[in-house]
Symmetry: none
Subunit: 194 residues, 4 copies
């Protein structure tokens, strides 16, 4: 979809790609996923709806691309201790999820997707990289001798991502999510070390 063979004809304008993503992010901040309309994105971007559907098959794909695009691409640095690196991971996750566009989009994306291809893509893009980072951190901790055996990365990932997710989307504490990260990392480190 995003890369149809594109043999001949006029090339797509990058300006349009950028305008779509940027307008989507704006409207996501202003009105959340609900209240975001493909027509409104087109109008805000000063383009036609067809230019959107030429790039994304559905509204969900567009929002996913806009919200997730370019997120969380760094790998965790070696900070010397499991706990410090877990804290780094948690903070990156919290920063990613609490960005205004992501916050507006994530709930909505979960809604419109049942079990189809989009959710798979999302898992691959959004989840796989984070899990790789978790794996790297755990491997380093084993190498350092902080852990005797490497726990399941998926479980550890859920333990870091989950509370942040719940905090933002269900609990919605008025307090800053960032302050939550160190506490969470400390508890996770303790749990793993035990």
């Amino acid at each position: 979809m995003s890369a149809p063979t594109a043999r001949g004809g006029r090339p797509r304008e990058e300006r349009v790609d950028a305008a779509i993503l940027s307008a989507t992010r704006e409207l996501l901040v202003e009105g959340g996923y609900a209240g975001l309309t493909v027509g409104a994105v087109a109008a805000r971007a000063g383009i036609g709806k067809a230019a959107i559907y030429r790039r994304y098959e559905t509204k969900q794909e567009m929002v996913f691309a806009a919200a997730v695009h370019g997120l969380d691409l760094e790998s965790p640095p070696d900070l010397g201790s499991l706990r410090a690196e877990l804290e780094w991971l948690t903070e990156v996750i919290a920063a990613t999820l609490s960005g205004p566009a992501v916050a507006g989009a994530l709930g909505g994306l979960l809604a419109d997707m049942s079990d189809d291809a989009v959710v798979s893509r999302m898992r691959e893009t959004f989840v796989a990289h984070q899990r790789a980072n978790v794996t790297a951190v755990l491997d380093r901790a084993v190498a350092r001798g902080e852990l005797t055996s490497r726990p399941d990365a998926a479980v550890v990932h859920a333990m870091l991502l989950g509370p942040v997710f719940a905090w933002l989307f269900v609990l919605r504490e008025p307090g800053d999510v960032r302050g939550f990260a160190p506490t969470l990392a400390r508890m996770a480190a303790a749990a793993l070390s035990a």
Copy 2:
């Protein structure tokens, strides 16, 4: 809404209340939040749409009432140890969230709500009771001497609810969520004891 003073006039029929909730739950299971129609609920319940809108201002309120109604009302029994009780809590949370109606509804509800009254109601109903249960468990652990000081119940709640939530709605591992609960509870107990 659900309880207008109602001085005179024909009283509302409980049969209708029940039929709405039950039809909503059925359709939630069959087609998820997306794909659930107010008209379809009315048709399935054998009532008119107006009877629904007399009770709930929006589709979201109806779904919320149907999905959350009567959930998780038991209090945690004294099982003798913090870990056992955390495990009980986690299993209740997992059972609640993975029930078919709730699973179909929760994502969708998060979507259509920005920050308005519905999300507050949801927090009050859905979250408050679980948090009270967490508090009770922690208090008992302090009384037993398992913990020296009572940690923040909100944080502990997030640590239990969050991973389950993430597992179900983001990670969507094919594996059973139930198997996840004991691991999670064990790690939480270790984290708290440290």
Copy 3:
């Protein structure tokens, strides 16, 4: 309907009858037939909707009763000439049709009725009496020698009623309908005499 056998039980309150008709007429003036609601009539009259439907089977019957009630019951006096009496008839018709409640109701009544009982009742009540008056006037003109044979009363009635009706409901000239009556009567007299 209006007079069910009424064996036992509490008798109907005349206050309610009057309140219904009066509220209907008020709302007819304020908003026309469209925009008149049975619920609004009940509210304005300070009664329940059931009290209305106990008296009238449909909204149309109620409006008909309210608009037509007590209209046009006088018989045409002997004014000495056909033309004078035709003028009297035309003025009565114009006065009847241009009353505010009737004006608001008639179009609407015509709308909701296809060919059923209500239109028959309306014809009987509203039309029959006027036609009897036309017949009386024509008979007197024959007796006076102004006409050699009595024309069809239905045709003459249509020639008097019709232009007034069209003037009010289709043409809607801003000018006063009353000024139209003498001209119409004069032309009708000339047509009949020829």
Copy 4:
């Protein structure tokens, strides 16, 4: 409404315009104005409701367009005498009003309209042309010397249209309206000549 400036974009399809009008006329014949549903028109026409509301602001406008469209566009031929031409006019009016779609629509249209723009448009379209025809006929009669002065065309129009209108919508005589036209025209000619 029917002609927005429409600079760019896909032009409206004539097929859709025609399908709307044709489906409306069919349903008007089948069930009258009451019993005609915008949804049913859309379904019968094989189009979406939005395509209707893009063209007509309300159901009334649509029905008006369908019932009145293309009616009565001929001008009265010179038939040599006032009476013959009046008869022609009356027959055209009767034919117009007694057409099945118009008969189903007119009463209903009168109902839903109070005094707003729709009734004005209707007057302009439906009435203005007929009145112009009346004027032409009267002018020819003056030129022929049949009339000494030209009477008010509005009054004459009311005298022709009105009885037909009343006959069809109020009196509803079972007899054929067509037979009514010559009598009416003869009487009108006599009245004008006097």
